[in-house]
């Protein structure tokens, strides 16, 4: 898929959210879309999914089967989890919808009969994830997929991403929590000032910033240990 000088804003007269983004995403690639709040990560992902139309430029070679996983499930619908996922599979043209298999994998089985409106945030996120995976996607787009998930489900995300990439699918995933370090081989795409540039993620030789809290009496000892291990401290502050 190719972004070719893509410009996008929500209304005429408003500032550009994407201002001339050019990028190519190949089969089997995992791209982690990073950037500060409001820089246009979700806009970029929605454009990739075909939900937003560029005002200028074009997006070409978009794969046929797209799994779109937004940052929240539109839960205000009168369906149970099982009904909703079955409907979404049918909308995708599936005769046999693999609801049970995905429910087992993401520990959703006990919620299949529960109404969408009664789900917790984390469970709704899992349902949202599953609806994007019902048909094996050629392009999987995940908007902050780790948000609100329990530890077990968070561990599943890198495995799912790896499976899609191994099948030759492209994965675009936004992340502001630093979870992308779990994605070996992924490339970073920084959205900043309307533009986009690729960068090396920590796993590929870069560095990460980790914030930790330490009991005050153990601060000197902890700092000494960290420095001895080759880490570089940036700032120490009181909480």
């Amino acid at each position: 898929m190719q972004f070719d000088d893509v410009w996008l804003r929500y209304s005429p007269g408003e500032p550009w959210v994407l201002g001339g983004v050019t990028a190519t995403f190949g089969p089997g690639e995992v791209i982690v879309v990073c950037g500060r709040n409001g820089e246009g990560k979700s806009t970029m992902l929605q454009a990739a999914a075909g939900l937003l139309r560029p005002a200028r430029g074009r997006i070409t070679d978009r794969p046929a089967v797209i799994g779109w996983v937004p940052d929240q499930l539109p839960a205000g619908q009168p369906f149970t989890v099982g009904e909703y996922l079955t409907h979404m599979g049918r909308v995708r043209g599936l005769r046999s919808v693999p609801v049970v298999a995905w429910a087992e994998r993401l520990h959703l089985t006990q919620f299949l009969g529960v109404r969408l409106t009664a789900l917790s945030k984390g469970t709704a996120r899992k349902v949202c994830l599953v609806q994007g995976l019902l048909a094996p996607p050629d392009l999987l787009i995940l908007d902050e997929p780790w948000d609100g998930l329990d530890t077990q489900a968070r561990e599943e995300i890198p495995a799912i991403i790896a499976e899609v990439a191994e099948r030759g699918g492209t994965v675009l995933v936004s992340d502001h929590r630093g979870e992308a370090v779990r994605l070996p081989g992924a490339r970073g795409l920084l959205i900043e000032g309307g533009g986009a540039r690729f960068f090396a993620l920590p796993g590929a030789g870069g560095r990460s910033v980790v914030e930790v809290t330490v009991a005050e009496e153990r601060l000197p000892e902890t700092m000494a240990l960290l420095r001895a291990a080759g880490h570089h401290d940036i700032q120490v502050r009181a909480r």
Partner: protein, 224 residues
């Protein structure tokens, strides 16, 4: 696309959002028609006219039932925004059919039509009166829906404004009746027994108006 139409119809029925407006107008029609023993064509012309704004409101309510995010998921799942829009319009149109059916049946139940008038022709004329206005009601409802108007206020204004404009510009003296759906022309033609040519002209005008309005809706949605 059929699966999405089915999903949206189920969602609409379960949400029960569409019940109040049709129920209210059917009660009103029952009260107006009860024991009236009128001519079938006149009675059906009047009920089609009264039902027109209600069907427009119902179309808006139908298209507003689904959360905004679900439209995006459906479009991606279908692989086409045009198909998603089409599924919405088809489902909203399908939801109108039971209301129109009830409106056709109602006068016979409450004695609104004289017994001798019961014939396939009178039922066909009634069906025509309802069906010819339905696409225009669908178009107005679509333009008033949240995906276009973003908020409830502009949607209500658009619905009300469209119907009042139709009531003004579809008068006999109007120089530009083709600017609005034939909301008044339908009952007038049936009351005056205009004949096949008159009904055909109204049908052509109604379909032309609806085609332009629905086509513009498609164009708007495809540019977003």
């Amino acid at each position: 696309m059929t699966a999405l139409v089915r999903m949206r119809l189920i969602s609409f029925v379960r949400s029960q959002r569409g019940l109040i407006a049709p129920a209210g107008v059917l009660l009103l029609l029952a009260a107006l028609q009860a024991g009236g023993q009128g001519q079938a064509a006149e009675v059906y012309g009047l009920s089609a006219m009264i039902l027109f704004p209600v069907l427009a409101v119902q179309a808006k309510l139908f298209l507003d039932t689904e959360p905004d995010g679900q439209r995006g998921l459906a479009a991606v799942a279908l692989g086409s925004q045009v198909r998603e829009v089409t599924a919405g319009l088809l489902a909203a149109a399908a939801a109108m059919l039971p209301v129109m059916g009830a409106s056709l049946l109602l006068p016979w139940l409450v004695g609104g039509i004289r017994a001798g008038d019961l014939s396939p022709r009178s039922v066909a004329v009634g069906a025509w009166a309802h069906l010819v206005l339905a696409p225009a009601a669908l178009a107005i409802g679509a333009w008033a829906s949240r995906v276009v108007t973003k908020a409830a206020g502009p949607g209500a204004l658009l619905l009300t404004g469209s119907v009042i404009l139709a009531a003004v510009l579809d008068q006999r003296w109007s120089p530009v009746p083709w600017l609005v759906p034939p909301m008044l022309s339908v009952p007038r033609a049936l009351y005056e027994n205009s004949g096949a040519a008159g009904l055909l002209l109204i049908t052509v005008l109604a379909l032309a108006w609806s085609t332009v309005a629905i086509g513009a809706y498609y164009f708007y949605r495809s540019r977003r």
